[in-house]
């Protein structure tokens, strides 16, 4: 009996000698089965602590948690901030056999050129959705939001988020993000003030609900929200504007002073396996940044129009401007909402 017990313990906790891995992650963003699979394959015991915002994660790491975690999952702009703070570890592509699986379009990203600190986790886009019962015309341009057709005037919800609104407005006007050209900024400011006349409300949390309830006939929205609005019965179509749309991406980063660096790289390598990347996507319903993951996706996600960006149209990350430039964009935002 005793021997049997010993045997089961041995089986249940395979090879403790392989050590452990400390993950700092968003809440409810990785399926438990996938974590169990990693442990079963490598014998590495995974501990996950969670956070609910990029800023909270950064603050906690800076307040002394650095050196306790191996990996974290910051959003695109936060990777750049963390890189600037010097709290990311570095790796070479050769250290990760699956590195080649990264979709080439996510390899040379502006926040981590050449992917020395991070790998893609999930990504999505931000553009707009339009109620097709109200407006049946072309929805392929950001003018839907910034110079709307008659049917949509006064029935538009805009995200209450400076970054997304100003980035999409810049794309619409064809001016670079973080421009410090006065004429361009002045034009951006004036265009937004004129566009506001046609907007009903600003709201991020309500972005999906106003489309479902009919309070708004069009709205700036995240692609995941648009898919949910459609699933809830609203006749909405998500548009990919020709001027470009905003993309966001969460990334797994290697942290500086990681106590289990080797295990962290094993974990990142594991997540770059197409089947595992697809498992995360099936759980979170965004998009994987890994080649070959598509065939493992659930049909509902694979065929979702919101998740399938048309070829040839570009997405842009929201850029983190320097302090001086940012102050001007802050002023434009305050102008818009005063």
């Amino acid at each position: 009996m005793k021997r049997l017990l010993a045997l089961t313990t041995l089986l249940a906790t395979p090879a403790f000698a392989e050590g452990e891995l400390k993950v700092y992650h968003w809440f409810e963003y990785i399926p438990q089965e996938l974590v169990d699979k990693f442990t079963a394959e490598t014998g590495i015991k995974v501990t996950i602590d969670t956070y609910d915002s990029n800023e909270a994660m950064l603050a906690s790491l800076k307040a002394g948690k650095l050196g306790q975690y191996d990996v974290a999952v910051p959003g695109d702009y936060m990777v750049e901030i963390m890189r600037g703070e010097g709290i990311l570890g570095e790796f070479a592509p050769e250290e990760m056999p699956n590195f080649a699986n990264i979709d080439p379009q996510w390899l040379d990203v502006p926040f981590d050129p050449g992917r020395k600190h991070s790998i893609p986790y999930q990504w999505g886009s931000t553009a707009y959705a339009v109620n097709r019962d109200v407006y049946k015309g072309d929805i392929g341009s950001l003018s839907i939001i910034f110079d709307p057709p008659e049917e949509l005037k006064g029935r538009i919800n805009v995200l209450d988020s400076q970054g997304e609104v100003l980035a999409l407005a810049s794309l619409y006007m064809g001016i670079p993000q973080c421009s410090s050209d006065r004429a361009q900024l002045k034009a951006l400011n004036d265009m937004l003030l004129a566009a506001k006349e046609n907007w009903a409300s600003f709201g991020s949390d309500i972005a999906k609900d106003v489309l479902v309830s009919g309070d708004a006939a069009a709205g700036m929205i995240y692609n995941g929200f648009a898919a949910k609005a459609r699933a809830e019965g609203a006749n909405v179509e998500y548009g990919f504007p020709k001027e470009g749309y905003v993309v966001w991406m969460d990334n797994v980063v290697l942290l500086k002073d990681a106590p289990n660096r080797d295990n962290a790289l094993k974990f990142m390598n594991f997540l770059l396996d197409p089947q595992n990347a697809a498992a995360v996507t099936n759980y979170a319903a965004y998009s994987p940044g890994v080649l070959g993951a598509t065939e493992f996706l659930d049909a509902a996600i694979k065929d979702s129009p919101e998740n399938n960006t048309p070829a040839g149209q570009k997405g842009e990350f929201i850029q983190a401007c320097d302090a001086e430039t940012q102050a001007m964009y802050d002023a434009i935002w305050t102008n818009l909402k005063k």
Binding site: S53, N54, E55, A59, Y77, I81, G154, N157, D160, S161, Q162, G163, R182, L185, K186, N189, K196, W199, A200, S201, F202, G203, I206, S213, G214, D215, A320, A323, Q326, A327, M328, D330, A331, I332, W333, T334, N335, K337, K338
Partner: protein
């Protein structure tokens, strides 16, 4: 009639009380110090610090936050300083909305309180209970519900159209009117309850005396009732005006967040990486100063009236 019972000996001298006063007050002071004085002090100090890029503060003292509030240096920050009207207008709009809400609360709240206070003593608790019931529900949920009621295809418009009063739905949602309705509704009981407490203590024999002396109803109300219940009215007005001034749920959810009110302006400064903590703190300090001035004027007027 039996004589009043003698006041029992308390068995303690003034000295005993004096000795006990401090230890007995200590918990109160600890709570006030930790949860009131310290945060306010922190807020004042932060308003003089330098903004750290992407949230947080740098411990360099500066007046930059107040400068930003009062002076406009153009979109690019290098024009000669003019008076900045943006934030003053935001304050004015908030004061106007809060003042209107206070007025409406008073117009509805006073008769309500009067009605309750003049019911038989046994049924008053029931009326009070009915007033407070909706307020057991979280403010956020009540505000969202109001959104549902007011929307174009909502029950209120359906009912009005059904009754044939209007042909087109009223576009109420995302307007200042909706914000006003939200503020009024949110803070109504804060007006009713203090006025009720004052009216309940009112000696109705005074009204009878006024009537006997030939005063009509209006004169009785203005010259007899109102002066007596005035403290309740003032307390009610303060309890409605002050929170309405800093409200941000109603402007955000009912007004569509299209224009800043003081509350949403401050809220914005502490959100995400684009926040500006010192500026948020400075706006709070300015708001608190304004409220204190109002309260001080009121207190002085009250003491003068007593004299």
């Amino acid at each position: 009639m039996a004589g009043a019972a003698p006041i029992p000996e308390t068995g303690g001298s003034d000295a005993t009380y004096a000795r006990l006063r401090r230890p007995l007050l200590a918990p109160t002071w600890a709570v006030i110090g930790t949860f009131l004085l310290l945060p306010v002090l922190l807020m004042v100090v932060y308003s003089f610090l330098t903004k750290e890029f992407r949230g947080g503060v740098i411990w360099d003292f500066t007046l930059a936050a107040y400068d930003q509030f009062f002076f406009d240096r153009g979109l690019f920050g290098d024009e000669p300083a003019r008076i900045e009207w943006t934030y003053i207008m935001i304050f004015w709009r908030s004061i106007w909305q809060a003042g209107l809400a206070t007025l409406f609360c008073l117009l509805i709240g006073f008769p309500t309180a009067w009605f309750i206070a003049t019911r038989p003593e046994t049924s008053r608790p029931v009326w009070l209970f009915l007033i407070t019931i909706p307020y057991w529900v979280n403010l956020l949920i009540r505000t969202v519900s109001l959104r549902f009621i007011l929307r174009d295809q909502g029950p209120m418009n359906d009912a009005l159209i059904g009754m044939g009063l209007i042909d087109q739905p009223l576009a109420l949602l995302n307007t200042n009117l909706a914000v006003q309705l939200g503020l009024f509704y949110s803070y109504l009981p804060f007006m009713v309850l203090p006025i009720y407490a004052a009216v309940e203590r009112y000696n109705f024999a005074l009204s009878e005396a006024a009537a006997d002396l030939g005063a009509n109803r209006w004169r009785t109300l203005v010259e007899v009732v109102l002066p007596v219940v005035r403290p309740g009215i003032v307390a009610g007005c303060i309890l409605v005006f002050v929170p309405a001034l800093g409200a941000f749920l109603a402007p955000d959810l009912l007004g569509g967040a299209k224009t800043f009110m003081i509350g949403s302006l401050i809220d914005e400064q502490f959100r995400g990486s684009q926040g500006n903590w010192p500026f948020g703190a400075a706006v709070s300090v300015i708001l608190m100063t304004l409220v204190l001035i109002v309260l001080m004027i009121q207190a002085r007027a009250a003491t003068r009236a007593e004299r």
